[in-house]
């Protein structure tokens, strides 16, 4: 350890004022967003849940960036790098490959949603397959995948509150009641405007760290060689090659099937906004690479990997450890506040996206089909609060705080199974609700079995080249969908379903 040149942060009153001041500012912005870009009343599901589909390139950049690059990114990715080494770099090909996929799929989905007035993926599936039940399955899969993701944001900031000697559970409850509050009031406008505050702070913090740390530690070459000497495997074991790329690819396919990313894309004002963002959003991937490097630097400073063994801290401490050992306390307060806001923004969007699904594909279809748009927006507001409270409860389960990055890949494995219904159906009308529904069911069951076989600790399947379990599930899913479709085709049972015409996919360029 290089104890000589660093001091561990001790927080004074001014540091706490800075920390609470920044977080308080972000929350106030979330509430004030209710007045932003208002042309219609918020007593309307489209205005409340999708901000009227009116966001331009810049806001969509902040909004989608805000919900992809989260507190999870800033805690778990350096944590994984600092414990498992090069494996954490999967996050880079993951967020690199996601944008060509966005470019291919999302403009079409945006167009059909605009033309037919959809707010959720379930809305599209319902019309495409003439099946409100399939829409419900897709919607519920999204909500189930979203819950641990929100919990991940909450768990993610626990170690920071702990580092700052704050009462963890009380702080989390207070913070997330405010999140529920501004989402309840402002709808999607809340997290969209807060995302700007979040990004300014996070970019400032990460850029400062990535410049100062190498200067203090003698350059990246020294950081990498020190980390290697400390016992970190900077590459991945060749046995994990297949696991690495399938995890990256599967996560990329899954990302825009998550309700929060889907909602962000649908709030664009036109299809070009999405296409432009496919070229602009990779800027954030650079940020992701930087935070991965922070994990390497943390190991270089500590002198051993953050694997929780032999007295080493657990992986989630890598980020706060590095900051507190390299910077004065006021900067730690600043950086930690940025990360806390980085958990607030995505939690808000995720809760809202889940609430939209519950309202549109459960409440409106099964409970009150005659609900007006105003009534729907009220139900969505209630569900926002329910979802956030649920995620808070979820996050207080002690086991969840360990290995938090895997919780996200579990959700990803589930949500990935909705790909045939949402993406594949954009390109063929031969699929029908039975093939897609059965494929979804079979793959979900098999995915769960495989995850249980691996004791819920890793998402690589050791009986099949360490391939990412979600992608194996998708392979089986597509096989089932293909076989059933083929049989129906041969027995002349294929008929084109749904109420969506080809012209509904068109948009002006």
């Amino acid at each position: 350890m290089k104890e000589g040149k660093m001091v561990i942060s001790m927080y004074n009153d001014l540091d706490y004022i800075l920390f609470f001041g920044l977080i308080g500012f972000a929350i106030v912005v979330g509430f004030l967003a209710v007045f932003w870009k208002r042309v219609a009343s918020l007593e309307n599901e489209l205005e409340y849940g999708l901000a009227g589909r009116r966001f331009g390139t810049v806001i969509v950049w902040f909004l989608i960036g805000g919900d992809i690059y989260t507190a999870y990114t800033l805690i778990a990715v350096p944590g994984l790098e600092a414990s498992a080494g090069g494996l954490a770099m999967f996050a880079v090909p993951y967020v690199v490959l996601v944008y060509p996929l966005v470019y291919i799929f999302m403009p079409k989905l945006w167009a059909v949603s605009k033309n037919k007035g959809y707010i959720t993926a379930g809305d599209y599936v319902k019309d495409r397959f003439s099946s409100r039940f399939l829409a419900l399955l897709v919607g519920l899969t999204g909500v189930v995948a979203e819950m641990p993701y929100i919990a991940l944001q909450i768990v993610g900031i626990e170690v920071l509150l702990d580092s700052m000697k704050l009462p963890v559970e009380l702080s989390l409850i207070v913070a997330f009641l405010f999140v529920a509050g501004f989402t309840l009031i402002s709808g999607l406008r809340g997290p969209a405007l807060t995302a700007i505050v979040k990004d300014v702070l996070i970019w400032a913090a990460v850029l400062t760290i990535i410049i100062v740390v190498p200067i203090k530690l003698g350059g990246f070459g020294t950081i990498f060689s020190d980390a290697k000497v400390a016992g970190l495997n900077l590459n991945i074991s060749p046995a994990l090659d297949a696991g690495y790329v399938t995890l990256a690819f599967g996560s990329a396919l899954a990302l825009f099937l998550y309700p929060h990313a889907f909602t962000g894309a649908l709030s664009s004002k036109d299809a070009n906004t999405i296409k432009k963002n496919s070229s602009l959003l990779p800027l954030y991937s650079v940020l992701l690479l930087f935070v991965t490097l922070l994990g390497v630097a943390a190991v270089a400073v500590l002198g051993m990997p953050f694997d929780g063994k032999h007295g080493a801290p657990a992986s989630s401490f890598a980020f706060p450890y590095l900051i507190e050992h390299m910077f004065p306390s006021w900067f730690s307060s600043f950086a930690f506040a940025a990360v806390v806001i980085g958990s607030i923004v995505p939690s808000s969007i995720m809760a809202l996206a889940s609430a939209n699904l519950i309202t549109r594909n459960l409440y409106l279809e099964y409970i009150n089909p005659k609900a007006s748009s105003a009534r729907q927006s009220v139900v969505t507001r209630i569900m926002v609060v329910v979802v956030i409270l649920g995620a808070l409860l979820f996050s207080f389960v002690p086991a969840a705080s360990r290995q938090i990055i895997f919780l996200q890949t579990f959700g990803g494995a589930f949500v990935l199974q909705t790909l045939p219904a949402v993406f594949l159906s954009l390109y063929t009308r031969k699929l029908n609700k039975w093939s897609v529904g059965i494929g979804w069911f079979v793959s979900l069951v098999i995915t769960v079995i495989m995850l249980v076989q691996m004791n819920l600790t890793v998402s690589f399947y050791k009986y099949f080249f360490e391939v990412y379990i979600g992608l194996i599930g998708l392979g089986i899913n597509l096989l089932v969908v293909g076989l059933i479709t083929l049989v129906m085709y041969l027995t002349k049972h294929v008929k084109e379903e749904g109420t969506i015409e080809e012209k509904d996919f068109e948009y002006s360029s």
């Binding site: 090069g86 770099m89 880079v92 090909p93 690199v96 490959l97 944008y99 060509p100 470019y103 291919i104 079409k108 350059g219 990246f220 070459g221 020294t222 950081i223 990498f224 900077l234 590459n235 991945i236 060749p238 090659d241 297949a242 690495y244 790329v245 990256a248 690819f249 296409k275 432009k276 496919s278 070229s279 602009l280 990779p282 800027l283 991937s285 650079v286 690479l289 490097l293 996919f505 068109e506 948009y507 002006s508 360029s509």
Partner: protein
């Protein structure tokens, strides 16, 4: 979508997914970064560039017409 655009969007997938055994290595390093790190960083920029080219291609081809 034109063939050239499909190829441009497909290249990052081919390189990053199937090239893993080739880029999972430490040398040659660049500016202190092991190969594994700088090579993947490079593809952030290349992929963004390719996607931008596809966007500009489509805009030029379609003008104000409607596209699929």
């Amino acid at each position: 979508m034109k063939v050239i655009n499909i190829i441009l969007l497909a290249i990052p997938f081919i390189v990053l997914l199937f090239g893993i055994t080739l880029y999972n290595r430490s040398s040659p390093s660049l500016g202190g970064f092991p190969f594994f790190y700088w090579f993947q960083m490079l593809w952030i920029f290349l992929t963004a560039l390719f996607t931008s080219i596809v966007y500009l291609n489509e805009r030029r081809e379609n003008g104000d017409k409607h596209v699929q």
